[in-house]
Symmetry: C2
Subunit: 276 residues, 2 copies
Amino acid sequence: MMAMEPRHTLEGSSIGAVNPVPNGRTGHNLLTKDDHVGMVGQLPDDLWRQVSEVCSEVRMLGPREELSKAGEPITHSALLLDGLMARYLSGTTGLSDNLLTVALHVPGDFVDLHGLPLGRLDHDVRTVTAARIALFPHEALEAIMVNTEYARALWRLTMVDAAIHRHWTYRCGRLRALASVADFLCEMDLRMRMCDRHEGDRFPLKLMQSDIAEVSGLSTVHVNRVMKELRDAGLCTVKDGVAHIHDRDKLRQIAGFDPGYLYLPASPSANPLNGL
Amino acid sequence: MMAMEPRHTLEGSSIGAVNPVPNGRTGHNLLTKDDHVGMVGQLPDDLWRQVSEVCSEVRMLGPREELSKAGEPITHSALLLDGLMARYLSGTTGLSDNLLTVALHVPGDFVDLHGLPLGRLDHDVRTVTAARIALFPHEALEAIMVNTEYARALWRLTMVDAAIHRHWTYRCGRLRALASVADFLCEMDLRMRMCDRHEGDRFPLKLMQSDIAEVSGLSTVHVNRVMKELRDAGLCTVKDGVAHIHDRDKLRQIAGFDPGYLYLPASPSANPLNGL
DNA sequence: CGTTCGATTGAATGTATTCAATGGATGTGG
DNA sequence: CCACATCCATTGAATACATTCAATCGAACG
């Protein structure tokens, strides 16, 4: 909607420009109010304050950098502050590219909160673009969760993840290539708006076509053809890491997109989304 | 493994034969020790006792009967005691059969526990076969979850669901038809063993080929061809509602199956699984 | 005995993959 | 500044995979 602060410009993430605040004493100076967006932005203020106070570290990651591997015990959870991260599964079948991205995370998402009740994860986690993340020791989060309301709020975050998983299963299982890519773009459009990473009908999408293939279960070549089709139809363009939605209604129509599964807060005051 | 009690025979579920115990006074007579299997079987005994005491109703459902629809507020969660249930998404695209089963539940699974932190669900829930379910008021579960350990245990159950969701996304997105169906059968094999619904290398699988199509994102016709291929290769047979695994190793091999995502308990004493 | 439901098969079509090649953009070193 | 390498997008052609339509078949059921 409105113009955005400098750190959210479309051209080049400002990762390098953000001061990595040295670990201070008082805890909650590691995170700012700007980090309270997107999914964590839905957490009540008092919970957010407590959570941000137990942030043990803010870390910068380069592009395509691995955060954790499947099976290893995890003791911290990461909140994505800037950039894109992915969770992916790689199979043991003899396929050439037996890898699928099963989740993509935007700023405001907890990337591996599933690991808290599970202790270990079944998938790998890595960055897609350069990223800034905040780490929280599980012990500290568990201490916060003695409050039942807070426990439920964090549980809810992971349940929205699960709903998105279901939608992705549906996308991979039932949608045709064109609808599938359109659907993915609709979702990213909405989620990037939720975390305030957008300027009008454009938002940063620093993904290669092979990344989109990995997300939608298609081949890179076919993604290319579908993108051209979407472009030629005047629906949307992705160029130089920026997605431009030209006709949101039609794009959603061919995707059959219904945002209900994202469980957006009902009140328009809670987050800055007007027209969905 | 060993022979099973009458109520778990492969031939025909004994749903109709089970006495629907009239709602008694003392609560936990609605559920028996036999119901403490599969995923809920992993819950600690004391939690299981408390949970079973707040069971408000045990209900019988016929085949293809709807339990809840997407969007409606839910106040209870259902534990599946016998039979199969499915969660499914239906899209708005103009496809002939725009429906996909995004989760299939076996006895011992909470079918809609995701609805507790979410309040409403993004998908429909229905039975596949006739089923017996136990209902638990959310209020009562919340009361139990003042104990942090218990809250975490229930959260964990939903996180295993999420892991299965991810695996299904992978299956639909990356696996070829043959591997996909093989993978599905491997998963059902294992989960039916976990809840003790098996006799040797056979387990009840009362699904039509169109159900398997709905689960794997294929057409019914193609499922038929794949099943024939698996049968001709001597890997497994599904006939009259019973799956017969002839060569588990080879079946897992062509599926690239690794059961890690099911988060089975490590100790062999915790559940009756010997060879995985 | 006819009906229905599900499994099975064939044939034609459509959709997506794979292989291979080109081209633009960017970056590097001489 | 040019030669060269790299990375990614793009396109064509051949092939593989899966769907759709249509028909048959067997078992179960009234």
